[in-house]
Subunit: 385 residues, 2 copies
């Protein structure tokens, strides 16, 4: 079932990449904002000054100076950890997989938001778990409903969520719910996997503390990545958490792929040692904020009555609810005919798929193409009413 | 148990890296032979000419031109596959993990040589399999003994081996046994995982056909890597096999880490498009051959009577059997005192560990240090007789 979903979405993304299609399907950052020259320069220096070490095998834990930079950076964001609590991963997707591998046995229960990040659902499914699903609203996961999931024989082993600018909804877990969720996990000794790929991409509102920073009892593993802030093609992410869990993840990573690419780690560390990362983030936030508001403006202009959407404060996605009775699965091929694409929402549901949603990505297109895309999409939806 | 082994070996390698210790413990290629400038140049060109694409997300299958190069290169070695039968992995270790993830369920039986590549044993153990172990001699796995392993309820799901210059023994599976092994796997419909990291490093004797090239029924997955021929720090390996298996591995890789680093893949493809890879391999073979023979010469000069070792035709390792009654585990701390290190053989055994063996790596040291190291090691062994 999970594999079928995976294949279906792979097919969708493949079709959506047709050059004549204006696609909002992928989860792609804006390549024109990649700091290509700074990354190129960092690589050149690594090869010139430490080429042999950078091309040799290295430790599974990751490159020391990079782990230190990440620990220090997280500290600035209110999450105080030591460098030896940081494991470098091949993007944060690998963090999800390693946590699943260490923590989950067949038949275990994983509690997820519904809808939830598709590729995490696929990872968990691969370990033959079952899901408990909790709904969400504009303030993220319905933490107030969690208590009823702790029933005999169905107690979750893991709670997975994306608290900031969730994929696919774009919504953010409120501060009150963060406190409540951490208390809940502590009370029942359930591990929280806090997946935070988009947290740095807040373009309005106040930064909220991570779940890991609210936890004093070691029940949170926090995942981060440079994929949305520097470039995904480097494949550098990290997992941060209690030492004994990080140690277990490290042993499992060793037998999974030995270590993350040494060249990319050293180049990233070198880049960060002198690059103005915060100024770069400010630029990303400005551009993505502009694009998000542009997409919302275009949705307002072109969507027929009865269409609704979320109002993200950051990240890369808007979640659209179609007018009553309409199915995004049915709409997809019709939209393709009009050379516009999205991801239908159904595969993001861990339980019964719901067909009235679609996910739109705004980070990858300038405002004029967002406008043109929403014009096309609005016309397709209107034609089906 | 497997984790204990992993930790023990991690500790051994950590101690062995002490700068005052002459270590033959690691499985490290010679960094002075890394084509650093050519790799640096390829990266520089990638950033200059295709920087944004190289830093963006890419397909799980891997970069098309790199898959094509690998398919064509394998063809020159007698293994004829199409590019869509090649999956790019993060080193061949990831290939082992993906095959295990797709093929193995808890309780399944994996048939391995004894001793066998340690990190593969760890990977398989993580999937809660049990092992059947078959012995080996100077011609590799005792294929003539396989039939007795196909008993009711214990039929292996997978056969794992390193046919060329095995880790840890350095021995090579004979041509006759290759044919017999493939016939055996075909007869019983058992998948062979042919792990071939060292195959290009033959410095004497004739190239032998891969198991995959002898198979016409789709029972072999073949793993390769640039870690031993270009540089491990790039983390580029590949899995080659029947299309339906490669497709399943691809779906699983997607939920494991999305894809292998785009930058490293494109730089490697660019490098290979004009680099004289065969001339580079000739240089590696010449140097490693010289080092292997130098180590054997030093062993002959310095080891006490009763010590025996293998005679590799390629690869990176020699397997040493200590004089009767001696334990490599006991020897290890004594050797460290004399500032020389090796890996004790016991963790390489999937069944009862045997303590009278040690693995020595010769690729990472020039002849004069091999001589000094064997002099120190010989004295330690002699002192224990």
């Amino acid at each position: 079932m999970s594999r079928m979903k995976a294949s279906a979405v792979r097919e969708i993304l493949k079709v959506a990449e047709r050059p004549d299609v204006l696609s909002f399907a992928g989860g792609l950052p804006a390549p024109e904002l990649f700091p290509v020259e700074a990354i190129a320069q960092a690589h050149a220096e690594v090869f010139a000054q430490e080429g042999r070490a950078a091309l040799q095998y290295s430790t599974t834990e990751g490159y020391g100076p990079l782990r230190e930079w990440i620990a220090s950076h997280l500290g600035e964001r209110g999450l105080h950890v030591a460098a030896d609590q940081v494991l470098i991963t091949n993007g944060s997707q690998q963090g999800i997989d390693l946590v699943a591998k260490v923590m989950l046995d067949p038949g275990d229960v994983v509690l997820v938001e519904n809808p939830s990040y598709l590729a995490a659902l696929q990872t968990f499914s691969g370990y033959e778990v079952s899901f408990s699903v909790v709904g969400s609203d504009d303030d993220g996961m319905r933490v107030d409903e969690l208590e009823r999931f702790v029933t005999a024989g169905r107690k979750p082993k893991l709670i997975y969520l994306v608290p900031n600018f969730q994929n696919p909804k774009g919504t953010t877990l409120s501060l009150e719910r963060r406190h409540a969720l951490v208390r809940f996990a502590q009370r029942h000794r359930i591990l929280i996997l806090e997946d935070n790929p988009y947290g740095e991409l807040r373009f309005r509102g106040e930064h909220l503390p991570s779940l890991a920073s609210l936890d004093t009892e070691g029940v949170v593993v926090n995942l981060g990545t440079f994929s949305k802030t520097l470039a995904p093609g480097l494949r550098i992410g990290w997992a941060v958490g209690p030492r004994e869990i990080i140690r277990a993840l490290t042993v499992v990573k060793q037998s999974t792929d030995l270590h993350t690419a040494t060249v990319a780690q050293r180049a990233t560390a070198r880049l960060l040692s002198r690059f103005d990362y915060n100024a770069h983030l400010d630029q990303l936030r400005a551009v993505y904020g502009e694009r998000c508001l542009a997409m919302i403006g275009s949705l307002e202009r072109h969507m027929p009555a009865g269409t609704r959407w979320t109002q993200p404060d950051g990240g890369m996605f808007i979640w659209v609810e179609l007018p009553r009775g309409m199915s995004a699965d049915t709409l997809f091929p019709l939209a393709l005919e009009k050379r516009v694409a999205f991801v239908p929402g159904s595969p993001f549901f861990a339980s019964e798929p719901r067909t009235e949603f679609m996910r739109l990505n705004y980070s990858n297109r300038p405002p004029e193409l967002l406008e043109e895309g929403m014009r096309r999409l609005g016309a397709v939806i209107a034609s089906q009413q």
